[in-house]
């Protein structure tokens, strides 16, 4: 089915599962964007959803739904999407159109074919067999808006020769994101097409020679270039190996692998292991990792000098095999200036698709905090010690009223207050804010000499497997997600959990009474914990709403569920992911939440919409963790492709890509001031990122196993990390960030110099009793709470 809209000369092509009726076209499920033609759309958005089935899928970012919820979006998105190239149907577009026509024809949608052809002004014979060829290639690309620069494989615009244009070209075309995350292969696209690029034949026995030749060359170049050029090894190695496999040279492939796999950087070990298992062409189909590798361009940053060296060498040697691979599968981001050192390169590499292009991190990010609404703080100085639930700040230090004053002036880096519509504060929220401020005045100021006390919440007898934990902001409730599909909530204060009375009983209540909120609760149901059933698979992610009335849980069963903490029942099951949902989190202002999972997309939802408002697509592998920025305008996602992306909630664009982790990322935390991001991965390292500059600013080494939890203290002085290695470590975040002086050069080039000061920053290591730490939380008074299941 196809819908064509004529406005702006743009062609919105909507491909549905064939089951979807035409009427619903307006609710586009799959927006297959035609190159960059469409006006009013940041073409970086990728609308397709990788593996999800075509039906029941969510909206694209720009569908009609947006306007309703994120009212700000249409206007601004049209500005961001003000593309230079508009109406003209470029050759590439034509290719793509042909591909689409091809597809439609194959599916016997002749009427639609007609319409499209008429609208696009394509000649009748455009679908002749000859065209098919290129259309085929194009459709492979079109599936994910692959390659804006070259519509088909055969006419690859050499990035190399166009090196100078690489910088210039990308921004104009807005390929920031699409260039490096094009791989959105729709529902098993034409794998054969994707892989077919490997079909170019070369003498298999020569591969070794080529590679060895290059290796020899790189080993002999000047030291300063060697490190840079060595980056080429890994992608080349992989692509050559795959080419051999694809062309059925099994034994040669094995020999090639044996010979050169040892040369690769150790942090690619995991990928190499997967590769080595793959020795047959047949296996390449359906192997996701491969598709990723194949369809995405591996990004390298190389200085101009080094690059020229390489180019000259390859041209001299007539080494076309390698040259082709470089042209086709690598994106070389050339910069002017000094070549980078080995350590600089190592710090940034390790992800599945190389580094981020510099352009990817250039967008302005409004990382400042929103202005807090002014709430009259009743000044009763009698310290009611009544609400002393969270423990006892023994040393109360009289603190300057930083909380109050901070909110007065507008942060220049903050987004405008209504950049995205936020829910209005309810009375209860205001009360909670007041509570928060009161607590905040009793907060302990932490520092290297004043470390927080640690309380550990141990889940005992959790034989079914504890998979996720969350605590409310006021630390009054703790929730656990379990592998047996249950969600359990405990009250950690003496206040028991109560359900609301039944409807019949509610009728009997005096609604005018002051304590009506108390009266609606059914005292008979009071208990310390409640169990909620509904999921049909392990619950991997869990998150309380800021107002403590709701709980979100995401599960292996592909759903995200919203639970009411008043009735302890499930309110909504948000379906859309259809594959395991690894994580979910509420926005700090409530209402919105984000989820991410095995289908490699993150989705932004609003609790009152059963379909997502945004789909953030671009990661090359599972999204393992999702976090909201404190100002709720951005979402960070960590993935097993070993990158972290920051997405703009308003436009749906990817605004930052952080590479440097050497393993799947399992935890993220924003600093309370919104300026920094910390990430922890299976490699046991915590990396610190400066969001504004898009740079890595620190590396914290010490953990020996996956870091499942990260949290900044309330004032951001201390970063706590909890790991599978049964320890909680505290880091001096203040010092890590204070020492930064980001000069213009670094900011411009993205070349970072990290000093190895993990040991100085490490303030403490606290071990548990055989209990992996899977959640950390600072109470409002800066008492550190940790949680995990005792694991005898």
């Amino acid at each position: 089915m196809i819908a064509l809209t004529g406005k702006n000369q743009s062609y919105v092509l909507v491909l549905y599962g064939l089951c979807f009726p035409l009427i619903h076209v307006a609710h586009a499920q799959f927006i297959l964007k035609m190159a960059a033609v469409q006006g009013g759309m940041g073409d970086a958005d990728i609308k397709t959803d990788i593996k999800t089935e075509p039906s029941a899928d969510g909206f694209g970012n720009n569908n009609a739904n947006d306007g309703r919820v994120l009212s700000a979006s249409p206007g601004s998105s049209s500005s961001t999407g003000s593309n230079k190239q508009t109406a003209a149907v470029t050759p590439e577009d034509q290719q793509t159109l042909l591909a689409v026509l091809q597809f439609l024809k194959k599916n016997k949608l002749s009427e639609s074919v007609e319409i499209l052809r008429r609208e696009a002004g394509l000649p009748e014979n455009s679908l002749d067999p000859k065209a098919n060829e290129s259309a085929g290639a194009g459709s492979g690309g079109a599936a994910g808006i692959v390659d804006l620069e070259g519509g088909d494989a055969s006419s690859l615009l050499s990035r190399v020769t166009g090196s100078s244009s690489a910088g210039a070209q990308a921004p104009t075309k807005g390929t920031v994101q699409s260039g490096c995350c094009p791989a959105v292969a729709e529902d098993q696209p034409d794998v054969s097409v994707v892989l077919s690029a490997y079909s170019q034949q070369g003498d298999p026995t020569l591969y070794k020679v080529y590679y060895r030749d290059l290796k020899k060359f790189i080993e002999t170049v000047l030291d300063c270039h060697r490190a840079e050029l060595s980056q080429v090894f890994y992608p080349l190695f992989v692509h050559m190996y795959l080419e051999l496999v694809y062309n059925n040279h099994e034994s040669e492939a094995k020999a090639f692998f044996e010979k050169f796999s040892g040369d690769q950087e150790c942090y690619y070990e995991e990928d190499l292991r997967i590769l080595s298992g793959l020795t047959k062409k047949e296996h390449m189909r359906g192997n996701e990792t491969l598709l990723d590798f194949r369809t995405s361009k591996f990004v390298l940053r190389i200085s101009r000098d080094s690059y020229q060296l390489l180019k000259r060498h390859l041209q001299e040697r007539q080494n076309n095999q390698i040259w082709n691979i470089i042209q086709e599968h690598l994106y070389i981001d050339i910069f002017d200036g000094m070549p980078r050192s080995k350590s600089q390169i190592d710090a940034m590499s390790g992800s599945l698709a190389g580094e981020a292009k510099r352009e990817a991190n250039k967008t302005k990010v409004y990382y400042g905090l929103l202005k807090e609404p002014e709430i009259e703080l009743p000044l009763d100085d009698e310290d009611e010690e009544a609400e002393n639930e969270e423990g006892k700040p023994k040393k109360k230090k009289p603190k300057k009223d930083s909380v109050g004053s901070k909110s007065k002036k507008q942060d220049p880096n903050a987004p405008s207050q209504n950049r995205i519509p936020l829910p209005e504060l309810k009375d209860s929220d205001k009360l909670d804010k007041i509570m928060y401020m009161k607590e905040a005045t009793k907060r302990i100021r932490l520092g290297p000499d004043n470390l927080p006390s640690v309380c550990f919440y141990t889940f005992l007898n959790a034989y079914q497997g504890l998979t996720a934990v969350d605590l409310t902001d006021d630390s009054s409730l703790i929730a656990g997600g379990f592998a047996d599909s249950t969600v359990r909530v405990w009250s950690v204060t003496p206040k028991k959990l109560r359900k609301v009375k039944s409807a019949a009983d509610l009728n009997l209540i005096d609604k005018e009474s002051d304590d009506v909120l108390e009266r609606i609760m059914d005292e008979k149901t009071a208990s310390e914990s409640k169990i909620m059933y509904g999921h049909s698979g392990p619950v991997y992610g869990i998150s309380f709403s800021p107002d403590r009335n709701y709980l979100l849980s995401s599960s292996e069963d592909g759903t995200v569920r919203l639970w009411s903490l008043l009735t302890f029942t499930c309110l909504v099951a948000y379906k859309g992911h259809n594959y395991p949902v690894w994580d979910t989190q509420f926005s700090p202002y409530g209402y919105y939440f984000v989820s991410g999972g095995h289908d490699r997309v993150a989705r932004l939802w609003a609790t009152d919409h059963y379909q997502p408002l945004r789909i953030f697509s671009g990661h090359l592998a599972d999204i393992t963790c999702t976090r909201f920025h404190p100002n709720s305008n951005y979402v960070a996602t960590g993935s097993s492709d070993r990158t972290i992306r920051l997405w703009d909630v308003l436009s749906g664009n990817c605004v930052r890509i952080f590479t440097g982790h050497k393993g799947p990322i399992h935890s993220l935390a924003f600093s309370p001031n919104g300026k920094f991001l910390a990430s922890g991965a299976t490699d046991g390292r915590v990396l610190l990122w400066d969001i504004g500059h898009g740079l890595m600013v620190g590396e914290l080494k010490g953990h020996t196993d996956t870091i499942y939890s990260l949290r900044f203290s309330r004032d951001g002085e201390i970063l706590a990390s909890g790991s599978m290695d049964n320890t909680v470590r505290l880091w001096d975040a203040m010092k890590a960030f204070d020492d930064l002086e980001t000069d213009d050069f670094t900011a411009a080039t993205g070349h970072i110099h990290l000093q190895d000061n993990s040991q100085e920053l490490l303030l403490g290591t606290y071990t548990t009793k055989s209990t992996p730490v899977i959640h950390l939380h600072f109470t409002r008074r800066n008492l550190l709470l940790a949680a995990g299941a005792f694991n005898p």
Partner: protein
């Protein structure tokens, strides 16, 4: 390639499998398949590891693998989900390897009586791990079943305490016990102490050690800082051992194992009332095991005695529930023993008398309490303030000195207690309908005759007892839940009283009996233990049960001073004499002097939960024994 990077399925295996499924495979096909199988396996393993990572585990489970299979549209493999490792065995002849898959007898499984206990409830416990960033060296709260490494200090403490308690020096023992019940930092040692206590079985020949271990239990139970958790079960089983088992020590009639049983019974009820909520169904289980012993005629009489005092200690409802229905059957056996006047039977008969006495006391209280509960429910009690007014009334109405005022009320009126009992005993346990009081009385009367009647009626007013009331009251209040002191000071009274007073005037005027004797007991007994045991060995007592009841009382209504004197004696309990002998001599007293416990009061006071308070009072209820 020389080196194998992966586990591989050989082509022979593939061919064998194919043959098993009835397909002939060519070599090349098998080779291809084998390779493909290997690849698919690797792929599935890789994706299953993802599930493991997200479940925050280090161990890849069958479940993870099955999830990976399911998500790649492959049928999951069932039958390998067991927690324990599956043995992989080989057949000697022929290179065949297989996973052992034993047949499970479904019938057996379905009819199995040892239903596996469900695992404990998932819960969250919090502990302060690090204060101000500094390690909190003393472990706070324990993780059940966690093996903790003990700090040197704790280890030393443990050694000292156990040595002191099990050692020779009584003074040291007291100090140790005191510390044990007030020390707040010994949570980590709890498993060790429980383990020591579970050693009762190995010292069943040594009454002294058994006693000490029971005291240790008491101290642990009383320690307000200890969370006993599932260790309650272990403690209860140790205590039950002392109550019910025919201890090796009881072979020698000189050994006073009766006292131990009484003490343990009190301890049992104390544990139950204070910590019973930690283990679900504990009450039920205790009742069941007591019932089992009681209904087993092969068991020696001392075991039966233990069962009866145990039931008595658990409250009159337990008696009504278990003992009363069993009485007719049991009575026949007991009667046979008591009616056998042969010399060879003397020892057994003496034991029989003990059981008889214990039953009598138990049913007597049953009748009283039942009557009281009926009358109270009839009165539609004022409820709110049970202690004062109604208490006094009930006190009058009931036997004097036997039960301190708060007790009956608490049982009847305090929600928690009665709820506990009802909930625990549950009517669904066994068909059981409460017998109406008159019927019950009639039945009991048919067994006990006048002795019951006399006792039952004793309660109604007498002028004499008024002085004793306060003391009794004070007594019971002051008494901490320490069963020992309760037991020792007050336990023996009733029997004496009853017998004493009845004997002279058989017509049983109620006036005669009450409080004075209750006081006399300790005083007279306190004289000496040795004389007592001599007496006993002389076998004087063994004569005739009925006769004994009418022997003239030696102890006439004594005065308070005796009581006090008795307490100050501070001698350890020498045990309880068979009541028929008591008349002949002054019974010995026992008793850890109450004052040792007096200063524990603040601790107990602080705990101050209704249950606890109730328990205290409940204790005094046992004094009649």
């Amino acid at each position: 390639m020389t080196e194998r990077r992966f586990a591989e399925v050989s082509r022979e295996s593939v061919r064998l499998m194919a043959e098993g499924a009835g397909v002939e495979l060519g070599d090349d096909v098998a080779a291809l398949l084998a390779e493909d199988v290997c690849y698919r396996l690797r792929e599935a393993t890789q994706s299953s590891s993802q599930f493991m990572r997200h479940a925050k585990r280090r161990k890849l489970t069958v479940e993870d693998f099955n999830r990976a299979l399911r998500w790649s549209n492959v049928e999951a493999i069932c039958g390998y989900g067991a927690q324990d490792a599956l043995p992989f065995r080989s057949v000697k002849e022929g290179e065949l390897f297989f996973v052992e898959d034993r047949d499970v007898n479904l019938v057996e499984l379905a009819l199995a009586t040892n239903i596996p206990k469900g695992c404990a409830e998932t819960m969250v416990r919090v502990n302060v791990s690090y204060l101000d960033g500094k390690g909190n060296l003393e472990p706070q709260g324990t993780v059940p079943t966690a093996v903790q490494s003990l700090s040197d200090d704790l280890l030393k403490y443990y050694q000292q305490i156990t040595r002191a308690i099990l050692g020779e020096d009584p003074h040291l023992m007291k100090v140790a016990l005191l510390d044990l019940q007030s020390n707040s930092k010994i949570a980590a040692l709890l498993p060790y102490f429980v383990y020591v206590i579970s050693g009762v079985k190995s010292v069943s020949h040594d009454l002294e050690q058994l006693n000490r271990l029971m005291h240790m239990v008491k101290s642990l139970v009383q320690n307000p800082y200890l969370y006993l958790g599932s260790y309650v079960r272990s403690l209860v089983s140790s205590v039950m051992y002392c109550i019910l088992e025919p201890l090796a020590a009881s072979i020698n009639p000189l050994n006073d194992h009766w006292t131990l049983r009484d003490y343990a019974a009190l301890l049992l009820s104390h544990i139950f009332w204070t910590h019973g909520d930690l283990v679900s169904g504990l009450y039920h289980q205790i009742l069941l095991s007591l019932q089992k012993v009681l209904s087993d005629p092969v068991r020696p009489l001392c075991s039966h005695y233990g069962a009866v005092v145990g039931l008595h200690a658990l409250g009159w409802k337990a008696v009504e529930r278990v003992l009363f229905p069993h009485l007719p059957a049991y009575w026949a056996n007991l009667q046979a023993v008591l009616d056998d006047y042969s010399v060879s039977n003397a020892q057994v008969k003496a034991d029989g008398h003990k059981v008889y006495g214990a039953i009598l006391v138990a049913v007597e209280r049953l009748l009283k309490m039942k009557a009281l509960s009926l009358s109270q429910s009839a009165e539609g009690q004022s409820g709110a303030h049970p202690g004062s007014v109604v208490g006094a009334v009930s006190y009058r109405v009931n036997s004097p000195g036997l039960s301190p005022p708060p007790e009956p009320l608490s049982e009847a009126a305090l929600g928690i207690a009665s709820h506990l009992q009802v909930g625990g005993a549950g009517c669904h346990w066994e068909e059981w309908t409460p017998v109406p009081l008159p019927a019950m009385y009639c039945e009991l009367y048919s067994f006990f005759g006048d002795s019951l009647a006399v006792r039952f009626s004793t309660g109604t007013g007498f002028g004499t007892h008024s002085p004793c009331t306060p003391s009794q009251l004070g007594d019971s209040r002051k008494e901490p839940p320490g069963p020992a002191s309760n037991l020792d000071t007050t336990r023996k009274m009733p029997q004496l009283t009853a017998n004493l007073n009845i004997s002279p005037r058989q017509d049983g005027s109620p006036r005669t009996d009450p409080p004075p004797p209750s006081l006399s007991g300790p005083g007279s007994r306190s004289r000496s233990s040795s004389s007592c045991s001599r007496q006993r060995s002389a076998g004087l007592s063994r004569e005739v049960f009925p006769k004994a009841r009418f022997t003239s009382p030696q102890t006439t209504p004594p005065a308070f001073s005796f009581l006090i004197g008795g307490r100050q004696m501070g001698q350890r309990c020498q045990g309880r004499r068979p009541f028929q002998t008591m008349f002949a001599t002054t019974p010995p007293v026992s008793a850890i002097p109450p004052r040792t416990y007096a200063h524990k009061l603040p601790v107990i006071g602080r705990v101050g939960k209704p249950v606890r308070r109730w328990t205290c009072s409940h204790y005094s209820l046992h004094l009649p024994l």
